[in-house]
């Protein structure tokens, strides 16, 4: 009996401080970030990150937690955005008084309402049927956004003004830093709520239904209702993200609920890793960074994101978070150092190969899109001629030599990996 209580206790009453530490760290990080990146671009990027973090996490309630592959999650995001921007306008017109910083609630509510409506028929089955329905609903919404002009504003969308609400301690959200803290606050609360949801019976059963829907029915749960609850919650949080988008950009258009946005959120969640709670957070951060930084340097940044996505699906389905988690065993055994040199040995030629591929893509793109006859181009500060023979020799050399050397380094990398992850010698001795 004593053993039972002993084994039960770590789950039941984990020290509160230990549970709270990551959350306190998260809060401090959110508060500290604008002091580190205080430029306008920095704030803009971080605001977008915050919105996408909520959006991607809400998406992962479907894909990662509930095993539902949705191609139409932008519907709830977009509707939340439209609803919020309309309420911003009502406040501006003086139709009713409501604090501007709580506007995303309306976004969440309409996300929830549509989650209930659409979830009531789409959650009957998971898999292909669910995916097809989500795609259909997404297309339907995108099409109707151009038909119901009164609500969706047609091609130019609906714009609002976030500074018109009643002031909160002299803050009217006129400055970017204000909206940053507003978004940060919402991010903290919604991330906490979504995490807590995953620890409730509904959240646990969502995992169970994802793993084995049939078995879940034989322990008393209707797979459809389990999915439905997750679906509604997911719609709610996506709507909140949409509401924050409306507050941040003060404009919402059809683009916010079309298939492109649905694809973006799938990309973010997957690149980050759908198997982990923090995966979509990592994905949203990486995606936003790629979007805002890479797009300064190249027109074809979306191609790179696409390649990253395909590579993730093919080689690391656990996502970027999965790669990090893979190293925890070696880290705990203090053997991570063994991997540094092998990584460098394989990484440097791999980098050369990737540089070659990127240069190839950029040069092709430049040849296709530049003014007729212009062949001089610049890439990361290096000027060269896109039609020059030297350019192409360098590209070819980088790809071939880099690729060959990377390949030749893989066996030693594999050996090093085995070494670093071998169970400790002590355990081996005890076992034999």
């Amino acid at each position: 009996m004593s053993e039972i209580t002993k084994t039960a206790s770590p789950v039941a009453s984990r020290p509160l401080l230990k549970t709270l530490t990551p959350w306190i760290g998260f809060l401090i990080l959110l508060l500290a970030l604008p002091n580190i990146f205080s430029s306008n671009v920095g704030l803009y990027t971080m605001n977008l990150m915050g919105i996408f973090i909520i959006f991607a996490l809400s998406y992962n309630m479907l894909l990662g937690q509930g095993g539902m592959l949705s191609f139409g999650h932008a519907v709830y995001f977009g509707l939340g955005g439209f609803m919020s921007v309309h309420f911003m306008n009502y406040i501006e017109d003086g139709d009713f008084t409501f604090p501007m910083y709580l506007i995303p609630i309306f976004g969440g509510l309409i996300g929830l309402v549509f989650g209930i409506i659409i979830g009531s028929f789409s959650t009957r089955r998971a898999g292909t049927v669910f995916a097809m329905i989500s795609l259909g609903v997404g297309e339907l919404m995108a099409a109707s956004s151009l038909i119901f002009v009164a609500f969706f504003g047609g091609e130019e969308g609906v714009s609002g003004d976030r500074t018109t609400g009643p002031e909160l301690m002299g803050i009217n959200f006129g400055q970017d830093i204000h909206i940053y803290y507003l978004i940060a606050g919402w991010v903290f609360v919604t991330v906490a709520l979504m995490y807590l949801f995953s620890r409730t019976p509904a959240g646990r059963m969502a995992n169970a239904v994802r793993d084995n829907a049939e078995r879940a029915e034989f322990v008393g749960y209707s797979q459809r209702k389990v999915r439905f609850v997750s679906f509604c919650a997911s719609g709610f949080f996506a709507g909140i993200a949409g509401g924050l988008f409306a507050l941040n950009f003060e404009i919402v258009t059809e683009e916010n609920l079309n298939a492109l946005t649905s694809g973006t959120v799938l990309l973010m969640a997957y690149i980050g890793g759908v198997g982990f709670f923090i995966g979509p957070i990592v994905g949203a951060v990486v995606f936003t960074l790629l979007q805002s930084i890479l797009s300064n340097y190249t027109d074809i940044w979306q191609l790179y994101v696409g390649i990253l996505f395909v590579l993730t699906v093919m080689y690391v389905p656990q996502g970027l978070t999965g790669i990090i988690v893979m190293h925890t065993a070696a880290w705990r055994m203090r053997r991570i150092g063994l991997l540094v040199l092998p990584y460098l040995r394989a990484g440097i030629p791999a980098l050369a190969m990737l540089t070659g591929i990127a240069t190839f893509l950029e040069t092709i793109h430049h040849m296709r899109s530049s003014v007729e006859g212009e062949t001089a181009m610049s890439l990361m500060g290096v000027d060269f001629d896109s039609h020059g023979i030297v350019t192409w020799i360098v590209i070819l050399a980088l790809v071939v030599v880099g690729g060959y050397l990377t390949r030749s380094q893989l066996p030693q990398l594999r050996d090093a990996w085995e070494m670093a992850n071998k169970p400790p010698a002590k355990a081996e001795g005890a076992g034999s």
């Binding site: 409730t200 019976p201 646990r204 995992n207």
Partner: protein, 250 residues
């Protein structure tokens, strides 16, 4: 006293093929009942009909006097009938602890709650730990169920089925593929967890059947040809002919 499970002229066809051809069977409360028969006799199909995995084509299934034919599996579970599967059927990516806890949440009345935190439910977690102790997986409770050994997964399978404390428990070949010592442990486990409950089991291992069962039914080509005590079944000529004859044909 109403019977725990009562089957009346139960039938199941897949297209033109009738797999279960009019089964009548009454299983009393607290009885340990085994269903035996050659491969392809329809034992698993019969299980699926009772537990709601398949819809019945004709006849009825009654649980404690209430008609449960064609109810969805979760409704039948809520009425007090729980089952395990012949092919191990667990939640592979969740920990052993979570697997068992999933089998407890409905009966502990959490339903689809999103306002309770599972880790803070002391009674739920203590009961889960007790069940894990009973199935002997305490030291393995935090690893994903998918990486357990086969015998451990079988034990977990039984644990999930029995965790909720259903009055009637159906086990589909609980010892299939186990070694001798594993089988002995499994029998002990089954005896322990089904104490005072109704047990229906499909089993190929005759040692297990004669050891555990109060009564045995013999199912051959979708029909029950005999229901009797182990002693009488062992000595029945008709059973031997039908069962062993069919077995020899394979």
């Amino acid at each position: 006293m109403t019977a725990a499970i009562e089957l009346t002229d139960l039938r199941k066809s897949f297209g033109p093929t009738e797999i279960i051809r009019g089964v009548n069977l009454t299983i009393e409360k607290g009885e340990r009942h085994a269903i035996i028969g050659p491969n392809g006799a329809g034992k698993s199909t019969l299980f699926h009909l009772i537990s709601g995995r398949y819809n019945v084509s004709g006849g009825s299934v009654k649980l404690h006097g209430e008609n449960i034919s064609n109810l969805p599996p979760y409704e039948i579970y809520r009425k007090g009938l729980s089952r395990s599967f012949q092919v191990t059927n667990i939640f592979p990516n969740m920990s052993v602890f979570e697997n068992v806890r999933c089998g407890l949440m409905w009966v502990k009345d959490y339903k689809y709650s999103f306002w309770h935190l599972v880790d803070r439910q002391r009674e739920l977690n203590e009961r889960t730990a007790e069940v894990i102790e009973e199935i002997g997986l305490t030291s393995r409770q935090h690893i994903p169920a998918g990486v357990l050994t086969y015998a451990e997964q079988r034990a977990l399978e039984i644990g999930i089925s029995a965790a909720g404390g259903a009055d009637a428990i159906m086990l589909d070949e609980p010892t299939a593929g186990m070694s001798h010592s594993e089988t002995d442990q499994a029998i002990e486990l089954i005896r322990k967890i089904t104490d005072g409950k109704t047990l229906v089991m499909v089993e190929h291992d005759m040692g297990v059947v004669f050891d555990l069962a109060d009564r045995i039914s013999v199912l051959v080509y979708g029909e029950i040809i005999a229901t009797d005590t182990p002693e009488n079944i062992r000595n029945s000529k008709a059973v031997q002919e039908a069962y062993l004859g069919a077995e020899a044909e394979e």
